[in-house]
Symmetry: none
Subunit: 208 residues, 4 copies
DNA sequence: GATGAATGAGCATTCATTCAT
DNA sequence: AATGAATGAATGCTCATTCAT
């Protein structure tokens, strides 16, 4: 019954979209399953047919988003050869993705913590994953002698924390300004933080 | 009736302490006013006499904590003359304070977001305040020519974001390791990020 | 605050009465906590203040009823000296109590099983208790040589089972006839079952 | 299409068997139609094709069981000539059947009440039927002068009630002991209850 | 000031039943 | 005949907040 399957899958996705909207509008706790049912033009029973409970539905959203970020980041990284440029690419892509998906960013950076204890471990894992990604390329850079030996694990955390803060500030500011404009300065700060020579940071000498 | 006033104030504080424990144990949403009433050996009515509602009680906690952080930071800053050392002092003190008050850190960095929309603006303000503190000293450093001109507002955000991430990771890790050991490396990264000369970062040449 | 206590206790009892009515009207499962709240002129929250959940409320009812039966039976038994007469008294009193409290009987004999697994053990205990009561007096009778040695535990069960069946049939019959008229014949059957001589059963020789 | 008919009938039976298992495992209310569908390797739609609703499905089970009991009892009764022995046979067979089909007994004696109001009349009818069966043979016995004239309708009820209690106690006891061992003592009690001479009850004089 | 009983809106979840395919 | 996705009414329970005493 491919037709039925398609329809079911379509509804599945419609629910995910609706949930994204509702959760990021109202926050995890204030979002009622009823709201999501209405928004996805489904019945409450239909919702529960596709997702066993509210928590799982929210987790599905986070996982979906992690997948998106990871895929984009990996694609961008693959296009670069130089390890520093790889790390830069990861930073840039995540910033861009958040910039163009404010709703998702809201979910990922704010609501995920707000959703309660159960999600903390999951979030910690996401943060670790991003940190590890940066770290691996910084390690390459160290190996190649581009930057001095250092605590690259911490550097990964610092990069993600900085990104996180910039995006969160943007999320909580009303009205939101252009997030992407922050990228060059952020890039400069973070590159400098790991000891990338100034010459490499400002190729044409355009110190801000 | 100064005695009664004392008693009232004493109870006020007992409630705050109890609330701190309960909120950081259970999280904002899962903490019931009942729990706090019991923990503070008061009645529910008593609670509501001192605080008009749950939100306000939680806000009082955040404000108290902000006050503590601010006081400590300002004291530490006042002891330094050099602007870079002032900025460093702020960073160090906040890290130390969180390290020695895990419960407060939990509340401030995790639960505050979890508490819902109503707190977002407040949190944004806290973040801005810390960022501005760092920024002001970095601006002095720029003025003195110690570091190059740059987007010091962003730098302030980056410093706080980095700190935030490091502490949060520590909060969510089981079992928690020693947070303060991270300080030297974090300091180095952040000083370097704003262009402090390596010679100043590692005075005796002890590159890690 | 004895006044408040009184009021609270009064409400407690009003809830129990309302619950008795609703449960025996609709049965355990079809009785909604809402129904009971309305019937007891309370709010749902008020209900839950007095009883932590539906099950506990129902159990309180059963316990209350067990207490009533036990008290009446013991009082009646205490008035008799002869062990056979004591056993008879228990039988008679329980029959009478059920006859005059149809609602309670419904709850005790029908709904208690219908309420589900969780109550089975409790019901089994009630049955055992009644059986043991009969048994103890039959044992006395055996000891005194009034009736032959026999499996008095089983006899206790038989007596209660017989009573149970007669009452249940009456409960389920529409319209209900006079239950107490059944007593003499039931008494005769049960006395004969344990070997009480016919002469003692029909003192004046009034065989039915 | 006899083959299809067979298949349908086969499925019909598979559903009944599955329902028996599920209902007696979980009880009427906690048994979900979904559970039964899975257990019978059918779909929910399939279930509803064979039985219009949950109630009807459960009734079908009860009817099936009543039929089994009736058939066995009648067969056993037919083998006896003496009316007392006929009544005894009915008693013995029902006890044996319950003893060897614990699941069915559970359904018949416990869950049937738990299933709610709608089943009460049906159950009453079953009880009446068994009572009437006993009664008819006791009436014969009275007519033949084997036992004294008495309220045989009540006696039928007493016999069934006693049996019911013994079996139910066994059902609710953990772990279940051997039910059939109770038969001789139960028989003696019940025969004596209707006035069967002791000599007939213990042919070889083996008073327990 | 303090108490704690009472309120009631709110919500996640279940499940018998339906029906398009 | 059979499937299983969808429906939606029903319900037990929670908890911030109020208020008579």
């Amino acid at each position: 019954m491919p037709i039925e399957q398609d329809r079911s899958q379509f509804r599945h996705e419609r629910i995910l979209e609706a949930a994204t909207r509702i959760f990021s509008q109202k926050g995890y706790h204030d979002a009622a399953m009823d709201d999501i049912a209405v928004e996805s033009r489904t019945s409450k029973g239909g919702l529960y047919f596709h997702f066993p409970n509210k928590q799982t539905l929210f987790l599905a959203l986070l996982d979906q988003m992690m997948g998106l970020l990871r895929a984009r980041a990996e694609a961008a990284i693959a296009e670069e050869i130089d390890p520093i440029r790889k790390a830069e690419a990861a930073l840039r892509v995540v910033l861009q993705t958040f910039a163009s998906h404010r709703t998702l960013a809201q979910l990922f950076l704010v609501e995920a913590l707000a959703a309660g204890r159960e999600f903390h471990e999951r979030m910690a894992a996401s943060h670790r994953a991003f940190g590890a990604l940066i770290q691996s390329h910084l390690d390459d850079a160290v190996r190649q002698g581009v930057i001095p030996p250092q605590d690259t694990a911490l550097a990964g955390q610092v990069w993600f924390g900085a990104l996180n803060e910039v995006v969160t500030t943007w999320l909580l500011s009303e009205p939101p300004g252009p997030l992407e404009e922050q990228y060059p300065a952020l890039r400069a700060l973070l590159l400098r933080s790991v000891g990338v020579p100034t010459a490499r940071i400002f190729p044409a000498g355009e110190e801000s």
